[in-house]
């Protein structure tokens, strides 16, 4: 599947935060990558001046509609233990709600947990990319500024 990150999408949106889609442009970009919203919901894109951006966006999201095989890899060599992945993973937020507010994961219920200064994937099967959810989530990869997480 093509690698697509919300920032790529965000840059092509009108970036006015007009909220006609019900959220901010950044939120819309993230949801679009997750396939939780559709491009048509950003109505300003049909206004004059956005023609090229709209076409590029349509091209970019086309591959999303056919997600199949998937996996996540975490390179422990370059992980800084920053905990960004722990905090952004929606599964972690459900399993250990404090993590969504920035706290370290301390239970064994999360997908990610930082141990001995390095993040480990301790519950891969809970990741939303796998059945039953099968959503095109990439927020951990996106939040890892060290570039230690790779999703395919």
């Amino acid at each position: 599947m093509a690698k697509l990150n919300p920032m790529q999408i965000y840059k092509l949106l009108p970036r006015t935060n007009c909220k006609k889609c019900g959220m901010t442009c950044m939120a819309f970009a993230t949801r679009l990558v997750l396939r939780e919203v559709s491009l048509e919901e950003c109505t300003p894109l049909t206004e004059p001046g956005y023609k090229e951006q709209l076409a590029t966006l349509q091209e970019l999201i086309a591959p999303l509609l056919t997600a199949e095989e998937t996996g996540i890899k975490l390179d422990e060599e370059i992980c800084s233990g920053c905990g960004n992945c722990v905090v952004v993973c929606p599964v972690d937020a459900k399993s250990e709600p404090d993590t969504a507010y920035g706290k370290a994961a301390r239970t064994s219920e999360t997908v990610f947990r930082v141990e001995n200064g390095i993040a480990l994937i301790i519950n891969l099967s809970k990741c939303r990319r796998f059945p039953p959810d099968r959503v095109n989530c990439r927020v951990c990869e996106q939040g890892c500024s060290a570039g230690a997480i790779e999703i395919w």
Binding site: M7, Y10, R15, T16, N17, M23, T24, M26, A27, T30, C79, S80, G81, C82, G83, N84, V86, V87, V88, A100, Y101, G102, K103, A104, A105, R106, R113, V114, E115, N116, G117, I118, V139, G143, S145, A146, G147
Partner: protein, 429 residues
């Protein structure tokens, strides 16, 4: 597992735990830097006996009494001793350092004089914009700017705990509810976190972009230039627009802005940007990202004791501010005490070179350049693990460190060592 407060950097993360078993250390929640800090507990190179330099120049182990006597004697006989370091020590230790400095009429200075001095000079501390807690940024920081700061590599957990990713009171969706801007002259790891990635070009780039942004925020009819400091107009105009929309803007800045030839010009502009953004409907805050863990504690404790933030000469009454660094370089001191920080590794080269020639007394847990050159080495307990006390986070928040195990045999806490040193000095006078 024991709950602990990490002393690995100025964030003092207090949501972490560790377990130490003889030669094994395990932790949950600590970043790589923090885990590395705790590794000193099991390190085989840990200093565990006082060292005295013999006449042949070699270090030989001595008793604690011997080492303390020698250190007290050096300080007492000195005409002008320097007491340096402090910013990794708890406030109680810093307080003792100030008391010793007073009784030997020496000069007290901390690493803050380098890290913090410029900020004070430019009025970047103490104002309303600077009274901000990291928790406030987590809860309200709708637009967060990192200017010449690279927390992804210096304060690993700042983004996840406070500034970028967590949800908060007015930040219902975490990362998606925030706009992040990173301004730097390099494409740092932090740049990857940003919506607005401003990688500037040219020596005066910070000045140009700050001026352009202020201009834009103040409102102007003039057509914008095509680009500023390598940033296309459309980029910084959209940044300006986003800033105007935000109810809360938190600005962090770091070494990329502080230790540059243009600093004198950029800091006033940064202050101006912040005051322009501070309106009736919008709060804008400004915090420096300081590296040494308890720099803020060192400044606060020194202020309370002397009304000066750092660099105080107790030879005058009342003690007066001085420039300890210049004094070092011009060879004014005849003895130096270094506490916690590796003074020889930290100071700019000319100062380090001058300091190296003096009889040094070094308090440290691990070997360093300073202990290598020291006349007397006093091994210390590890702060936060074997020694407790009070510290201040980078935003000023007070935290209490609770020791959870005792130091190795023959090793005392900084507090115990300095108490005994002070006793010896005052007893004999």
């Amino acid at each position: 597992m024991k709950d602990t407060v990490c002393c690995g950097c100025s964030l003092f993360c207090d949501d972490v735990c560790v377990k130490v078993q003889k030669t094994e250390l395990s932790s949950l929640g600590l970043c790589g830097l923090g885990h590395g800090y705790y590794e000193a507990v099991i390190s085989s190179s840990r200093l565990n006996s006082p060292l005295l330099r013999a006449s042949d120049g070699k270090h030989t182990p001595g008793s604690m009494d011997e080492a303390l006597d020698k250190a007290a004697e050096l300080l007492r006989r000195s005409k002008k001793p320097l007491l340096f370091g402090w910013s990794t020590s708890p406030n109680e230790v810093i307080q003792l350092g100030l008391e010793i400095a007073r009784s030997v009429q020496g000069v007290f200075d901390s690493t803050a004089s380098l890290e913090y001095g410029t900020l004070l000079q430019h009025g970047l501390v103490g104002g309303e914009a600077n009274k901000v807690s990291l928790d406030e940024v987590r809860d309200f920081g709708e637009h967060v700017i990192f200017w010449g700061a690279n927390p992804a590599e210096s304060h690993h957990r700042l983004a996840s705990r406070f500034a970028v990713f967590p949800m908060g009171d007015k930040i219902p969706e975490g990362r998606e509810s925030r706009t992040i801007t990173v301004v730097d002259i390099r494409e740092t790891e932090s740049v990857r976190l940003a919506n607005h990635q401003l990688v500037l070009k040219g020596g005066d780039a910070d000045i140009e972009i700050l001026s352009a942004l202020i201009h834009e925020l103040e409102g102007t009819d003039a057509a914008p230039p095509d680009q500023v400091a390598g940033i296309p107009a459309i980029e910084f105009l959209s940044l300006g627009k986003q800033l105007k929309l935000a109810d809360y803007v938190a600005v962090f800045y770091g070494n990329g802005l502080l230790h540059r030839p243009q600093t004198e010009a950029t800091l006033p502009l940064l202050t101006k940007l912040v005051s322009t953004l501070n309106t009736e409907k919008r709060r804008c805050t400004l915090l420096p990202l300081i590296a040494y863990s308890n720099t803020i504690g060192a400044v606060k404790t020194c202020l309370a004791f002397t009304k000066q933030p750092f660099a105080v000469d107790f030879a005058s009454k009342p003690p007066k501010p001085c420039s300890a660094l210049d004094n070092i370089v011009s060879g004014d001191f005849d003895v130096a005490l270094s506490v916690g920080v590796d003074a020889l590794g930290f100071l700019p080269r000319p100062a380090a070179r001058a300091l190296q020639k003096l009889p040094l007394i070094s308090l440290s847990s691990l070997p360093s350049l300073t202990t290598n050159h020291a006349r007397v080495v006093l091994p210390t307990a590890l702060t936060g693990v074997e020694a407790g006390g009070t510290v201040n986070r980078v935003d000023g928040e007070t935290l209490t460190l609770k020791p959870f195990q005792s130091p190795p045999k023959g090793v005392l806490t900084e507090e115990q060592i300095l108490t005994q040193l002070l006793q010896r000095i005052t007893d004999s006078s």
